[in-house]
């Protein structure tokens, strides 16, 4: 059964622990601690307390009637992770890992962030649990997401601007790993997606599976059946993995991951790792990567900073190869259109990341029967993106006027 992976730290041939030796004892201790607490009723009770009382779970499963009518096909439901405290699904994972770190006796937490959502999620968890947080962020992203930088600082977290390499998420992860190597005895590295060495991809998936579990329970309660399809965006792939996992062994449910097609796969300016990448090793895992002929990891592009990553979670790589999940891409233009459409039709401003999933779900709905149900994981809210979208629309308007 697919849900029984990872086996020996691997999802088929993907995953593993490609790490410098200094980190090996820390990763082993984490694996042991997670093994101990994942089924510990006391730990689960504490996590559940924070998820419900503090973060606002369960999140609603909302029937998007107007969007459905506009698409003209299958019913589209939105799993409202945008309503979770912090404004994105990230809080599910940061609370889980921060509670684990606390039980492991670690007081210093480090994390990486791209758009800033995981950084904010980490800052929130550190603040409420009394831990000290430091977040690495590429200097380009610091510039693009000033508001999130201030939010993290306001929550008491220190933000380190990273100037190396492409100055985005990939380099923020490199720098966080370097910090971890240097301070391994005191520090917990709180990874924000289903990436990195084992046990991170499994552990983050488990913490995010609360999304899929709630969808499953609610569908069975309301309709007595499972949905036809689940659609979620994929950067590293944590909201998608959390949505897919509880359905892996239900072959009737189609699982669709939507990657960032940027300016189009043919232009090379995209972040569609599973659609256009090849196998390799990055950030401690064997997985699909965007790389050049020599094996150098290449710069990626997406209008959404949260999807701007040249790797992807190893479990997605396995699901692609065995064809259990389908992976497609959606361009910047299409995502922006979906961002606007959902705002106008439903009064919900989605994150640009989630807009990729909305766009593809609308395309799919048109081809499906009216009694079928598509679930879209609305991974985050779009307040952080309004400025980017405003600039994008102004630029696009000018370009179209010239034509």
């Amino acid at each position: 059964m697919l849900s029984s992976y990872p086996v020996g730290g691997k999802f088929g041939k993907y995953g593993g622990k490609y790490i410098p030796e200094t980190l090996e004892p820390a990763v082993q201790k984490l694996e042991d601690a997670y093994e101990k607490y994942r089924n510990d009723p006391d730990f689960q009770k504490e996590l559940n307390y924070y998820l419900t009382e503090y973060a606002g779970r369960p999140t609603p499963l909302y029937f998007a009637k107007n969007l459905t009518e506009s698409a003209g096909g299958a019913k589209i439901y939105l799993k409202r992770e945008d309503l979770l405290h912090g404004g994105a699904h990230k809080t599910n994972n940061t609370l889980g890992q921060a509670l684990l770190a606390k039980r492991m006796g670690k007081k210093r937490i480090i994390a990486e962030t791209g758009a800033g959502q995981h950084g904010v999620g980490t800052a929130i968890a550190c603040s409420v649990l009394g831990l000290s947080g430091e977040v690495y962020m590429g200097s380009k992203d610091v510039e693009r997401q000033k508001l999130n930088v201030f939010r993290m600082q306001l929550l008491g977290t220190k933000v380190h601007s990273v100037d190396s390499g492409s100055q985005t998420l990939k380099d923020a992860i490199n720098e966080a790993i370097r910090d971890w190597i240097s301070n391994v005895q005191t520090t917990y590295y709180l990874i924000g997606s289903v990436v990195g060495p084992h046990p991170y991809p499994m552990m983050v998936r488990d913490f995010q599976s609360v999304i899929g579990n709630e969808v499953r329970q609610e569908m069975l309660q309301r309709y007595g059946s499972l949905p036809s399809a689940i659609v979620a965006c994929v950067g590293g792939g944590s909201n998608a993995m959390g949505s897919f996992y509880p359905f892996l062994d239900d072959s009737s449910v189609r699982l669709i991951g939507v990657e960032a097609g940027g300016q189009g796969l043919k232009t090379g300016k995209h972040s569609a790792t599973l659609c256009a990448g090849s196998e390799g090793v990055l950030h401690g895992m064997f997985t699909y990567l965007l790389q050049d002929k020599q094996g150098q990891v290449i710069d990626t592009h997406s209008v959404s900073a949260g999807l701007d990553y040249p790797g992807v979670g190893p479990e997605h790589s396995m699901l692609k190869d065995v064809k259990r999940a389908e992976y497609v891409s959606c361009t910047d233009d299409e995502a922006i259109d979906a961002f606007v459409a959902l705002s106008r039709l439903e009064g919900i401003i989605p994150a640009l990341e989630s807009s990729h999933a909305i766009s593809h779900a609308v395309k799919m709905a048109k081809e499906m029967d009216r009694d079928e149900i598509i679930i879209v994981t609305l991974s985050g809210r779009g307040d952080k993106d309004v400025q980017v979208v405003q600039e994008y629309l102004a630029k696009r308007g000018k370009k179209r006027a010239r034509k």
Binding site: G16, Y18, P20, P25, R178, N183, G280
Partner: protein
């Protein structure tokens, strides 16, 4: 290397930084100064075990168009000039994984290198790599750290050939001011387990003769110097490499 009266000096340079000719020149000077082994770095886009000095040099080399292929051509030229000099490639796993281990190791062998150091390749993941390297007669140098358990140290020693690379500190590469007692403890622990099987090389942070003496005093069979050399090259002081190597080599003599 083990049991000799003096410790070996291992010197690291980034292939093609600032250009191929300069790297060749740097190697000549280091060898003239007393370097016993050359570590030739093949630049990788995401060098997670490296500090700012080597990151910046690797990045500049990539910008200048250095490829693994060109690094192999450089190794060939160095081999021709220094027929008995041990040369090791140091790079990250993805460079080999992407090209395919078999092909990459075979081509490396043809270019005259003697082995590999891969800082993100732990023994657990090394099955195919080790087997194919052995087939080609290439050394596989695995790394250990001050916090590596006795059981793992044993595995690392069993899997390593050439020497075992003990990382001196909790940290990444880059010149340091001083070292603490735990480094000496780690050297002693490794030496005890490796005795009679494999020499123990110590690297990361070593930039001065006094550092070398500190490591050799604790029993190191080799000291490995990288960032201090790359710093000289970055600052346009390549001409001083011979004197740097000579001073480090002097400190290697027990």
């Amino acid at each position: 290397m083990a049991g000799r009266k003096e410790a070996a000096l291992v010197c690291y340079v980034v292939a093609g930084y600032p250009d191929m000719k300069a790297t060749e020149e740097a190697v000549d000077l280091l060898v003239a100064g007393g370097a016993d082994i050359i570590e030739l770095g093949i630049p990788f886009s995401d060098p997670i075990a490296d500090g700012p000095t080597i990151q910046q040099a690797s990045n500049a080399a990539l910008q200048a168009g250095v490829t693994p292929e060109k690094a192999m051509q450089l190794a060939k030229r160095i081999r021709k000039k220094h027929p008995a000099l041990p040369i090791l490639f140091m790079t990250y796993s993805n460079i080999l994984v992407h090209a395919g281990f078999e092909q990459f190791l075979e081509k490396s062998k043809q270019s005259g290198v003697d082995g590999f150091i891969l800082p993100d390749m732990p023994v657990e993941e090394a099955g195919q790599y080790s087997a194919l390297a052995e087939k080609q007669g290439l050394a596989t140098v695995f790394l250990a750290s001050p916090n590596t358990s006795k059981e793992r140290l044993q595995k690392i020693i069993d899997r390593s050939s050439g020497f075992m690379y003990l990382v001196s500190v909790f940290g990444i590469t880059g010149a340091r001011k001083s070292f603490e007692g735990y480094t000496q403890d780690a050297i002693k622990r490794s030496k005890k387990l490796a005795a009679g099987k494999l020499p123990v090389g110590v690297g990361f942070g070593i930039s001065k003769p006094e550092h070398a003496r500190f490591m050799v005093g604790a029993g190191a069979d080799a000291i490995i110097v990288g960032s201090a050399i790359v710093n000289k090259i970055s600052n346009g002081k390549t001409a001083e490499l011979k004197a740097l190597a000579a001073s480090l080599k002097k400190a290697c003599r027990k």
